[in-house]
Symmetry: C2
Subunit: 234 residues, 2 copies
């Protein structure tokens, strides 16, 4: 039986690959996930696919309708706004704790993550409209590092889970690029500054603005998209 793959169990491996394919936009929101197709693509039997999908469903990345199979979680403006609200509340909460509780090792990792982010180019080389994959990874790592000082791993895990789901939406309107005038690097510097000076209020405020701003741009981009073709509404 096939037993390689780098992970420990095939199910874990398949789940990771499915997750990556969904978050990277290779499997689009609303897309049906049929077992015959997946089975061929991922070279795994129905059981392991089912396990992977059930796990992703519990996380909110896919949706399961009884006897109608699985679907990549469909996107809608309402859900994006709900998710954003939840992120603002929870991430602010965790960031406050992180800023207060984080030790020196946390500080160092945060500085390192910011340095990496700052030195990574934003747009992909060939295509100025597409965000670079490395930058996306560095961006996620920086935000994770920001929260990582929080000693309550449970709260931290929930906050990171919400960020993960938000990735889905980021890819949604990616081809349209961000607002040209936005000072993204500045926002990140402000976050770093507030964290290093141990100012929870400033950090929370900066993060709040950062997240809200991103969503507003996303919604605007979606509106523009609507004028050309119907959007993926629920």
């Amino acid at each position: 039986m096939v037993a390689k793959g780098g992970k420990q169990t095939l199910g874990d491996d398949v789940r990771a690959r499915l997750r990556a394919d969904i978050l990277s936009g290779r499997l689009l929101p609303g897309c049906r996930l049929k077992f015959p197709v997946l089975s061929a693509h991922y070279d795994a039997s129905v059981s392991v696919l089912r396990e992977a999908l059930v796990r992703l469903a519990e996380q909110g990345l896919v949706r399961s309708e009884p006897h109608q199979g699985f679907v990549v979680t469909p996107l809608s403006r309402e859900k994006l706004w709900e998710l954003t609200e939840a992120r603002i509340e929870l991430e602010a909460l965790v960031l406050r704790r992180s800023v207060v509780e984080g030790d020196l090792s946390w500080e160092s990792r945060l500085v390192a993550a910011h340095h990496t982010l700052e030195r990574t180019r934003y747009t992909a080389e060939g295509d100025d409209q597409r965000v670079d994959d490395d930058w996306a990874a560095a961006h996620a790592a920086f935000h994770a590092a920001l929260l990582d000082g929080c000693t309550n791993r449970r709260l931290l895990r929930m906050a990171l889970g919400l960020r993960d789901e938000a990735e889905l939406y980021r890819r949604w309107s990616q081809p349209l690029g961000d607002e040209p005038g936005r000072d993204l690097a500045g926002e990140h510097r402000a976050l770093l500054e507030a964290a290093l000076t141990r100012d929870p209020d400033a950090a929370a405020a900066a993060l709040c603005a950062h997240v809200r701003h991103t969503t507003e741009l996303l919604l605007a981009a979606a509106d523009r998209l609507d004028h050309e073709q119907p959007a993926p509404e629920e």
Copy 2:
């Protein structure tokens, strides 16, 4: 094939039954969940059990170690405290929103839930040391009703999920009963009062105290238990 059970798919049904058995204390924390045994008990094949367990694992009720099967999530003082902290933060947050956003229908449901709770006897009929099952259900329903005014279903779901996990700990030290002097009914009345007068600060403070108090009693009970036999430590 067996197709009854009241639910839509066998997997859902088995998951619900397993969940109930864990929360009610019929399956104790740390207990190994072997497929041969479960398969016989729940009259279902390995696949559906696996699905159910994977889902519960994603929720935190059971734990999965690769190639070593599933275990009912073991309890420890550290984890209880971490969970309590998370609950205090998140439930307070959701309750504030609930109190501000809840409409008349919410108010009515809340009053109804409180009435049910108040008229349900606390200790089981035969055994004064054991909490009545109906009371436990009414208690859970009242707290759910408190939070239910929050329009952000995502935040609400997370808060309820944490409460669920906490149930695990409640059963842990149940045989020892609660502190005699505690005015539980009074605490619930205070919560109701603050909610109905739409005072988010008072409501959050009351909930915070309520949750923290419960955990402190639980920890004290666990300490007393330690003097007789080793506790279920990690």
